[in-house]
C-alpha cells in the first residue's frame, strides 16, 4: 500500500494516466448501462408525425394509411402530400421538423372546403359488403345481402368506399356546419392596412418590393433592412 502511494507520488504522469483511464472506464460503464436501460423503442419522430396526420387513412399520399406516410416523412419524403390535413397539417409538420412549410402538392388532391361523410342511398344498396371491406375505420354497418349504412360519426370522409360500390349508391355529403361548431373568422386585413404599412418591419415579402421601391428614393432603405434583422432576431 505504502509502496503504491510512493510509486504514484514518484510518477505523477503515470498516476494521471491511471486516473484518467479509471474515469473513462467508469463513465463508459455508466453510458453503456444507460444505453441499455433507457433504450427508446421504435422511432419517436414517426409517432409524433402520425399524431399530426388526420388519420383518414385515405391513401391519397400514396401510402396505405397515415402511419406509413409518417414513416415516409421520417425517411425524408415530402410533407405536402396530405390533402385531408391541408395546410394546417403541413404547417404543423413543418413546425415539428423545423423546416419551411410548403404548400399542398395538388397532385395528391385538393384540400376540401368542408368535411364530408359517406352516405349510402339505402334503397339502392344491394348488400355486397364491398364498401365494408374497403372502409379503413369500420364505419360501415351491414351484412351480406342486407342493407348497409354509414355511421356518420365514425366516417373520416376518405371516400375509399365510393370506388368499390358496384351500384354507385354511395355519396360523399358535405357536413353542414351548425351553430355549435361555428367560430369567428379571422378579420380580413383591410385594404388600407395592406397598402400603407406604417411600420417597416410589418411589411411582408409580398409588398416588400413595392415599399422598397417607395423607400429607395427617400434614402431609408438601410434602416429598413436593419429593422428587419431586428425583427428576425425577435421572432427567433
Amino acid at each position: 500500500m505504502v509502496d503504491m502511494l510512493e510509486l504514484i507520488l514518484n510518477n505523477p504522469i503515470i498516476a494521471a494516466l491511471i486516473g484518467l483511464g479509471g474515469l473513462a472506464l467508469v463513465f463508459g460503464a455508466i453510458l453503456g448501462f444507460a444505453a441499455v436501460k433507457f433504450k427508446v423503442e421504435g422511432d419517436p419522430i414517426v409517432e409524433q408525425l402520425d399524431a399530426l396526420l388526420p388519420q383518414t387513412q385515405c391513401g391519397q399520399c400514396g401510402h396505405p394509411g397515415c402511419r406509413p406516410y409518417a414513416e415516409g416523412i421520417a425517411n425524408g419524403e415530402a410533407i405536402n402530400k396530405c390533402p385531408p390535413g391541408g395546410q394546417a397539417t403541413i404547417n404543423a409538420i413543418a413546425n415539428l421538423l423545423d423546416v419551411e412549410a410548403p404548400s399542398l402538392d395538388e397532385d395528391h388532391g385538393q384540400e376540401a372546403e368542408l368535411k364530408t361523410v359517406a352516405y349510402i342511398r339505402e334503397d339502392e344498396c344491394i348488400g355486397c359488403t364491398k364498401c365494408i371491406q374497403a372502409c379503413p375505420v369500420d364505419a360501415i354497418l351491414g351484412a351480406a345481402k342486407l342493407m348497409h349504412t354509414v355511421i356518420a360519426d365514425e366516417c373520416t370522409g376518405c371516400d375509399l368506399c365510393v370506388e368499390p360500390c358496384p351500384v354507385d349508391c354511395i355519396d360523399m355529403l358535405a357536413v353542414e356546419p351548425t351553430v355549435s361548431d361555428w367560430h369567428w373568422k379571422k378579420p380580413e386585413p383591410s385594404a388600407a392596412l395592406l397598402s400603407t404599412q406604417l411600420i417597416a418591419t410589418d411589411r411582408s415579402a409580398l409588398n416588400e418590393s413595392v415599399s422598397a421601391d417607395t423607400y429607395i428614393g427617400s434614402g431609408q432603405n438601410n434602416s429598413n433592412s436593419d429593422r428587419k434583422d431586428d425583427d428576425e432576431g425577435r421572432a427567433a
Binding site: T56, N95, E154, V179, W184, K186, L193
Partner: protein, 714 residues
C-alpha cells in the same frame, strides 16, 4: 382599494387594466319598467344555454299554457324551455337564431291566443323544509340559467361537489355601457333579489359571506338593495366604475382580492357567483313555482323614439320590441345584441329575445359610427395597459395573425375574457378581440379534430389487428389441414407397402395401436355395418320412417284443398316409392341372411312387411296403413331381434350344457360298452374302464365349469 360609499363596510380592491367608456346608462333609466303587448308569435330556440340543446316535448297543434314546459333538458348540462304565454304550437322548425353566425337552428314556434293563461304553479311557502338537492332540481326544472349573459345552467353552479363554499357573490355590477336591465331589476325587485340571495345561501350550505356587488354608478340600485337587505347578513358592496369589473373573475378579485387561477373555477376558491337576475328567478321558481318566462331587456339607442327597459316575454321577436318603441330603421347604423363592448351584430331583426338577451342597441350613425378600417399596429402598448387579465394583447395579435396557435396558448390566450378593452383603446382600431376569438375557435376546432383523428386511428389500428389475427388463424388452419393430409398420404402409402409384403397380417395391422384413430373408427363403423342385426335394424328404421311419412302425407292429403291435391298426391307417391325401396332392401338383406337366421320369423316378418307395403300402396284411397299389420311386422322384427340376440348370447352356458349332455350320453354308452365287455369278459375291459374314467373326469370338470358360470350369471 377604496371605500367609495359612506355606508359601505366592505373593503374592495382594484383590478389591473380596465377602461372607462362613456356609460350611456341614463337614456334607458328615464322611464320605469315597461310592458310589451303579447306578439302574435313567439319563438323558442331549443338551445338558449351552454350545453346540450333541450328536446321538444310538444307537438304541432298542441295547446299550451304560460309556464308549461315545451322542451325538456337532455343530460346534466341542459335545462328545459317553457312557454311564456298561452297559445298553440304552430311549428317546430329551424329559424334564424339570435347568434352572430346568423345560422338557423331548431326552434319551437308558438301562436299566441292573447289570454296569457298560466298553468297552476306549485308554490312552496318554506323552502327550508326541502333539501338542497330538491331545491336545485326545482331551479333546474324552472329552466334557469345564468342571466348575466353566459347562459350557464344555474343548477350546476349551485352544486359544487366536495368543495366548501364560504362566499356567495351576487353580481349586480352591469359594467357594460348602455345596459341598465339589472339596475332596473335591483330597483324594482330588490326584495326578491335579497330573498334569492338567502335561498342560494341556504342551498350552498350558508356560506360565511354573502355579498352583492354593485358599481357606484348605480346609486339608486345600491340604495334599494341596502334597504331590502337591512335586516339580513347580506352585505352590499359598491366600488368604482370601471369596465370590465362585472366579469366573474374580475368581480371576485375586486371583492375578495383573490385571483381565480387560470383554467380553474371560482368554486375552487370557495366562491360561487350568480347574477342578481338569476338569484331573483331562482327565488321565484322555488317560492312560487314560476318557470323562467320573462326577463328585463334594455332597449336603447338613438334610432328608437323611446328608450327604456321592458319586461319581455321570452320568445318575443326583436322586431316586435323595436316597433313598440318606434324604431326608425333608416336612422339606425346597425343593431347590436348585448352591450357595445362585447355585444354582437344582430343577424336578423326577426330573431327572438332569449334568456340571455339583456340589451338591444339600435344606435344612430352619429352615436356609433361604423368601425374605421384597421391600421397598422404602432406598438403603443395601450392594449397591454387596458387588459384586465394582464395578458399581452399585442403579442397575441401577432401570433393570432400568423396562426401560431402553440405560442398563443403559451401566452394564455384562453384566459382572455374577450372584454374588448384592448380593441377599445387601440388607436389603430384593430379588431383585436376578433383575432382572439378566431384563434380560440381554430384551436378548439383543432383539438376536436385531434380527438376525432385519434379515435379514427384507434379504429384503424384495431381493424388492422383484427385482419391480421384472422389471417393468422386461417394460416394456422391451413397448415394443420396440410399436415393432416400429408400424414394420411404417408400412412396410406405405408399400409399399401405392408399389404404388398404380407397380406395375411393386414387385418392384424388394422388393430395395431400405431394406426390413427380415424381409421380405427372407420373400421369399427364398417364392422358395425357388417353386423347383420345392426344393418337389419337400420333398414327397418328406414322402412318405418318411410311408412310414417306416407301416413303423414296421406292425412294431409285427406285434409288438403282441391288445388293442392295434385301436389300432395305426388308427394305421397314419392313417399310410397321410398317405402317400396326400403322394403326391397330389407327383403334382399333378409334373403341373404336367411341361412344364418331362423327362417321362421324372417319369413313371417317378410310376409308381414309385404302385406303392409301392399296395403300402403293400395291406400291411394286415402287410408293410412292399418295398425294391425304394422304391429305384426314390428312383432316379427322383435322376434327376429330376439333370435339374433339369443344367437349371440348362446355362449358358454349353453355350450357347456350341450357338452354336458353329450358327455352324459357318451358315458352312458361307455358304461353300456363296459357292461357288455364284462359280460363277454373281453380283453378290452381295461381300455373301456380307462375311457369311462376319463369321460367321468371330463364330466366332473364340465359340471364344475357350468356351476361356476351359473353362479357368475346370477
Amino acid at each position: 382599494m377604496s371605500d367609495s360609499t359612506a355606508n359601505n363596510i366592505i373593503k374592495t380592491f382594484d383590478i389591473p387594466g380596465g377602461v372607462h367608456p362613456p356609460e350611456n346608462k341614463a337614456q334607458s333609466m328615464q322611464l320605469p319598467l315597461g310592458e310589451v303587448s303579447i306578439p302574435s308569435e313567439l319563438i323558442y330556440p331549443l338551445n338558449q344555454h351552454i350545453g346540450t340543446p333541450a328536446i321538444a316535448i310538444v307537438e304541432v297543434g298542441q295547446k299550451v299554457l304560460a309556464g308549461q314546459k315545451i322542451a325538456d333538458a337532455v343530460g346534466a348540462l341542459s335545462v328545459p324551455v317553457h312557454a311564456s304565454t298561452s297559445g298553440t304550437i304552430s311549428a317546430i322548425e329551424d329559424r334564424i337564431l339570435p347568434h352572430t353566425s346568423g345560422m338557423k337552428g331548431p326552434c319551437i314556434v308558438l301562436k299566441t291566443d292573447g289570454h296569457h293563461q298560466f298553468i297552476d304553479y306549485q308554490p312552496c311557502a318554506d323552502y327550508r323544509q326541502l333539501s338542497s338537492a330538491e331545491l336545485i332540481e326545482k331551479i333546474r326544472q324552472a329552466g334557469i340559467i345564468g342571466l348575466g349573459g353566459a347562459g350557464f345552467p344555474t343548477a350546476i353552479k349551485l352544486d359544487p361537489r366536495n368543495t366548501c363554499i364560504d362566499t356567495l357573490i351576487l353580481n349586480g355590477t352591469e359594467c357594460e355601457p348602455y345596459i341598465t336591465a339589472d339596475d332596473r331589476l335591483m330597483q324594482d325587485y330588490a326584495d326578491d333579489i335579497v330573498a334569492g340571495a338567502e335561498l342560494l345561501a341556504y342551498i350552498l350550505g350558508e356560506p360565511a359571506n354573502i355579498i352583492i356587488g354593485i358599481e357606484d354608478n348605480k346609486p339608486d340600485a345600491i340604495k334599494a338593495m341596502q334597504q331590502a337587505a337591512k335586516n339580513t347578513r347580506i352585505e352590499i358592496a359598491s366600488f368604482p366604475t370601471k369596465y370590465p369589473s362585472g366579469g366573474e373573475k374580475q368581480l371576485i378579485q375586486i371583492l375578495t382580492n383573490k385571483e381565480v387561477p387560470s383554467g380553474k373555477l371560482p368554486a375552487m376558491l370557495g366562491i360561487v357567483m350568480q347574477n342578481v337576475a338569476t338569484a331573483m328567478a331562482a327565488y321565484r321558481a322555488v317560492r312560487f313555482g314560476e318557470a323562467l318566462t320573462w326577463r328585463i331587456t334594455t332597449l336603447v339607442g338613438e334610432a328608437l323614439d323611446v328608450q327604456r327597459n321592458l319586461k319581455v316575454l321570452l320568445g318575443t321577436s326583436v322586431e316586435h320590441l323595436l316597433n313598440e318603441l318606434g324604431f326608425q330603421s333608416n336612422q339606425a347604423s346597425r343593431l347590436i345584441m348585448g352591450g357595445p363592448m362585447m355585444g354582437v351584430a344582430l343577424p336578423d331583426i326577426k330573431v327572438p329575445v332569449i334568456k340571455t338577451t339583456a340589451c338591444i342597441i339600435a344606435p344612430s350613425h352619429e352615436e356609433m359610427p361604423d368601425q374605421p378600417d384597421a391600421q397598422a399596429c404602432i406598438r403603443c402598448g395601450l392594449c397591454a395597459e387596458a387588459c384586465p387579465v394582464s395578458l399581452l394583447p399585442q403579442q397575441l395579435y401577432w401570433y393570432a395573425k400568423s396562426e401560431e396557435y402553440e405560442r398563443l396558448q403559451n401566452h394564455n390566450l384562453f384566459d382572455c375574457i374577450e372584454c374588448g378593452a384592448c380593441s377599445y383603446v387601440c388607436p389603430s382600431t384593430i379588431p383585436l378581440v376578433q383575432y382572439y376569438r378566431a384563434a380560440k375557435g381554430n384551436i378548439l376546432q383543432q383539438q376536436q379534430e385531434k380527438i376525432r383523428s385519434d379515435h379514427a386511428r384507434q379504429r384503424f389500428e384495431f381493424r388492422q389487428a383484427r385482419i391480421e389475427r384472422a389471417e393468422a388463424e386461417k394460416e394456422v388452419k391451413r397448415a394443420v389441414r396440410k399436415e393432416a393430409a400429408e400424414k394420411a398420404k404417408a400412412l396410406a402409402a405405408k399400409r399399401k407397402a405392408e399389404a404388398a409384403q404380407n397380406p395375411e397380417n393386414n387385418n392384424r395391422n388394422n388393430d395395431a395401436p400405431a394406426l390413427d384413430p380415424v381409421a380405427l373408427a372407420m373400421a369399427r363403423v364398417k364392422a358395425k355395418e357388417q353386423d347383420p342385426a345392426v344393418q337389419k335394424s337400420k333398414l327397418e328404421r328406414a322402412l318405418t320412417s318411410a311408412q310414417g311419412r306416407v301416413e303423414k302425407l296421406q292425412t294431409r292429403l285427406d285434409n288438403a284443398e282441391t288445388d293442392q291435391l295434385e301436389k300432395f298426391e305426388s308427394q305421397v307417391k314419392q313417399a310410397q316409392l321410398r317405402v317400396q325401396d326400403a322394403q326391397k332392401q330389407l327383403d334382399a338383406f333378409n334373403n341373404t341372411k336367411s341361412n344364418t337366421l331362423n327362417s321362421d320369423p324372417t319369413t313371417l316378418e317378410k310376409s308381414d312387411a309385404e302385406s303392409a307395403t301392399t296395403t300402403i300402396s293400395n291406400s291411394k284411397v286415402l287410408k293410412p296403413a292399418s295398425p294391425e299389420t304394422l304391429d305384426a311386422a314390428t312383432a316379427a322384427i322383435e322376434r327376429a331381434k330376439a333370435k339374433t340376440e339369443a344367437m349371440a348370447l348362446m355362449s358358454q352356458e349353453e355350450k357347456l350344457h350341450e357338452q354336458l349332455q353329450s358327455l352324459e350320453k357318451r358315458i352312458a354308452k361307455a358304461q353300456l360298452n363296459l357292461q357288455n365287455a364284462q359280460a363277454e369278459n373281453s380283453e378290452h375291459i381295461a381300455v373301456f374302464k380307462a375311457g369311462l374314467e376319463k369321460m367321468q373326469a371330463k364330466l366332473a370338470t364340465t359340471q364344475a365349469e357350468l356351476t361356476s358360470l351359473q353362479k357368475e350369471n346370477q
